[in-house]
């Protein structure tokens, strides 16, 4: 008899919770209590398949792990009675199976490796995410956890840095600076006291890789930080994390405490004589605090405003001492590099970008989620293979990479390889890993306006080009979106953008024009349509569109009347076709989406006016 317990895994990261994981967990606990089953429930982090949340996995002793997707509390009793009690997996909910020791136990179920979402990924950093319980250090230890730390403690700092240099790892926080070089500069700084900082501010809206890593596998990041501390000679490290991530903060606290209890942190780590402490600092809601000098000002308890560099943090950093700062994902790469060796690590990737990159694939694709891909993969492969194309049979328009500092790339860039230099050349940046897919319904001028609104809000106000420049650029973009754009606006916009780029103090301003410059480069026709024809090709800018009812299609079901919050629809009942009152309609589009008979259409506002004139 196999004494191993049956295991049920439930993804309980923020995304899982958003999809209702708590209710599924409760249902599973209820089922276990009712039937008095000997089953272990394991709350895991996020495996990355956001569009399939809530995810629930069942492992019968000695058999493959079977993953169920889009699980609701009502599905739980079925899964329990069929799969767990009778050994018959419930086909309709299955996502795939993960064979143990490459034994395939269930014939007709697709293996993880062959799922479209997984096939082109190379999951070496997030491999434990969703597999282990992030609140149990033993789970991490079972996956070679802290082995890299014990290894480096017997090495010299120079040898460790050599290993990182060999890997050619580049910072994953945006800039792409060589991590080994950064460490060696800080290691050679002369000072008794040095600091190590982990940047977990992740302010880029539309990105969540760092959150997922910290919620799903916090120990790998902590191990990377400790190794970094040892290499540069720092006895104190800070993790600066944004306060919008309460669960990640919670799990980090637990992980740090456990690491201290096991002697991986604190005094005399693993008997090596090396001391190291880690502290968590929470941000308070300022995007600019992700910039390294602003971040340090914030840790010191001041307003998070950047300062000019040089001096660089490696010379004058936190509290005036030499400081090394890296991103969460950068640190998560470190244990792997130490374990498999820098040269082996560098076999993945392109000439100048090595290893893998984690992306948050979101927006209008079928498969959204957290993915890890080898450098050099093309945008097409990400969107159409991993992401499985655009949702709702719409057409692909663009992908926004790099957040507010990045850019929008269109059709012509689909075969651009993902690496630091190709992306920069194309007008985007690698950034932290946000990858938002847009379809034909997304207006590119509106996206540029959206990012400028964000930048203008988040500009710290210290330097004039960024503070005033962002405001002026936002004004121009807003008026273009409202149909008040002028012929000269595009020239003005480009000139302003280039000035702000050249003159701003920190990266926030320097890159703030990228969304504008990239949309102007690839989607200029949309700007021109807004300005010259007062028309929004994507039919997204409210001032430029008009909803109306095609009376012939109207079945007078009155759904649109009920959904309209502006009382702008008359008729629509008792055989009288609905009619939208232009004066009251705010173009929210609620009726358009609600109508089951395609009786509501959206047209250009000026067409509508023209039609009306001809009718008169």
């Amino acid at each position: 008899m196999n004494k191993e317990k049956i295991k049920v895994f439930i993804g309980m990261a923020t995304c899982g919770r958003a999809a209702g994981a708590q209710a599924v967990l409760d249902a599973a606990k209820y089922e276990i209590a009712q039937k008095q089953l000997a089953i272990e429930i394991i709350e895991t982090g996020c495996i990355g398949m956001c569009s399939k949340e809530v995810l629930l996995d069942v492992v019968l002793p000695g058999k493959s792990r079977v993953t169920y997707g889009n699980v609701t509390p009502q599905d739980v009793p079925v899964i329990f009675s069929e799969h767990i009690e009778k050994g018959l997996p419930v086909k309709k909910l299955i996502v795939g199976q993960l064979p143990v020791d490459s034994k395939i136990n269930y014939e007709q179920i697709a293996c993880y490796g062959s799922l479209p979402f997984m096939a082109k990924q190379k999951r070496q950093i997030i491999k434990r995410c969703g597999e282990i319980n992030p609140e149990k250090i033993d789970d991490y230890l079972a996956f070679a956890g802290y082995k890299a730390l014990s290894k480096v403690l017997k090495m010299s700092p120079e040898a460790i840095i050599k290993e990182i240099e060999d890997s050619q790892l580049r910072g994953r926080g945006g800039g792409g600076f060589l991590t080994g070089l950064k460490w060696s500069i800080c290691a050679s700084a002369q000072s008794e006291i040095k600091y190590m900082i982990c940047n977990a501010d992740e302010g880029d809206p539309g990105a969540f890789m760092d959150r997922s890593l910290l919620e799903s596998d916090p120990h790998s990041v902590i191990e990377g930080i400790i190794i970094g501390c040892f290499a540069i000679g720092a006895a104190e490290g800070y993790i600066y994390i944004r306060s919008e991530y309460p669960l990640a903060v919670e799990r980090l606290k637990i992980a740090i405490k456990q690491a201290e209890e096991r002697g991986f942190l604190g005094k005399n780590i693993l008997g090596s004589g090396f001391n190291c402490n880690l502290k968590i600092k929470k941000g308070s809601g300022a995007f600019v605090c992700g910039e390294e000098t602003a971040l340090m000002a914030s840790i010191e308890g001041r307003r998070g405003m950047p300062r000019p560099r040089p001096p660089f943090p490696a010379e004058v950093g936190l509290w005036g001492k030499p400081t090394n700062i890296n991103n969460v994902e950068t640190f998560a790469n470190v244990p792997l590099i130490i374990l498999e060796g820098g040269k082996t690590y560098a076999q993945t990737g392109t000439l100048k970008s090595k290893g893998t990159k984690i992306f948050a694939l979101t927006g209008k694709v079928n498969n959204t989620g957290m993915i890890e891909v080898p450098m050099g993969i093309t945008i097409r492969e990400i969107v159409f293979d991993i992401g499985q194309g655009i949702a709702d049979n719409k057409k692909f328009k663009a992908v926004q990479i790099g957040g507010p500092s990045g850019g929008c790339l269109g059709h012509t860039n689909l075969d651009t390889p993902i690496d630091y230099d190709s992306l920069t050349q194309a007008g985007a940046i690698m950034g932290s890993g946000g990858c938002v897919v847009m379809d034909e319904d997304t207006c590119m001028v509106d996206i540029a306006r959206y990012f400028m609104d964000f930048i203008q809000n988040e500009s710290c106000g210290k330097c004039v080009p960024c503070r005033i420049g962002s405001k002026r650029m936002l004004e121009i973009l807003t008026r273009i979106c409202q149909g008040d754009g002028r012929e000269k606006d595009l020239v003005l916009l480009e000139e302003l953008a280039n000035n702000v780029k050249a003159l701003s103090l920190c990266g926030l301003g320097k890159t703030s024009a990228n969304p504008i410059l990239s949309t102007l480069r690839y989607f200029k026709d949309e700007y021109i349509a807004h300005i010259k024809e007062k028309r929004c090709p994507a039919k997204a800018c409210k001032k430029l569109i008009q909803y109306r009812v095609v009376a012939l299609n109207c079945k007078t079901c009155s759904l649109c009347v009920k959904v309209c919050s502006s009382n702008a629809i008359e008729g629509g009942a008792k055989g009288v076709a609905a009619f939208i009152l232009d004066g009251k309609c705010v173009s929210c589009g609620a009726c358009f989406e609600k109508c089951p008979h395609n009786a509501i259409v959206v047209t250009d506002a000026n067409d509508f006016l023209r039609d009306k004139e001809t009718q008169l």
Binding site: C50, P205, S212, Y245, A360, V436, Y450, S565
Partner: protein
Amino acid sequence: MDYIKKTKRIVDKYNNDKEAVLDILQDVQEEFGYVPKESVAYIASACSVNLSRLFGILTFYSQFYLSPRGKNILKVCCGTACHVKGAERNLAKAEEVLNIKDGQTSADRMYTLEKIACMGACGLAPVVTINKDVYGHVTPERIDKIIKNKGYRE
């Protein structure tokens, strides 16, 4: 006074450390849901920092509030992923249902409405949170239900 007593406890925890004012203010914010004037004055004298510096910090970071907020905090994410999926309509609906604008608190102090830029669940965009509950794939119709049904009124 209650404010002072509780603030003192927090300041004591950090040994009146001038360099920990940000942590102190965060704890005060957490304790009261906003940062009362009385607390600011107390921290200024207890840690010997200028009032102007404290207000400088309080107004710089968006997560400090100088007036009381609602019992329930409704946050509508308008980050990039949510924006692309129509988050602005959720915001408009929430404003309509609660009859307050972004950043405001309802007269009965039951709700505060806030527009935020990404809370890291972009795969399930558009996203809305109330207090600690996170909701994914939210539509304007669902927002209405979330606000009304969830017993957030107690």
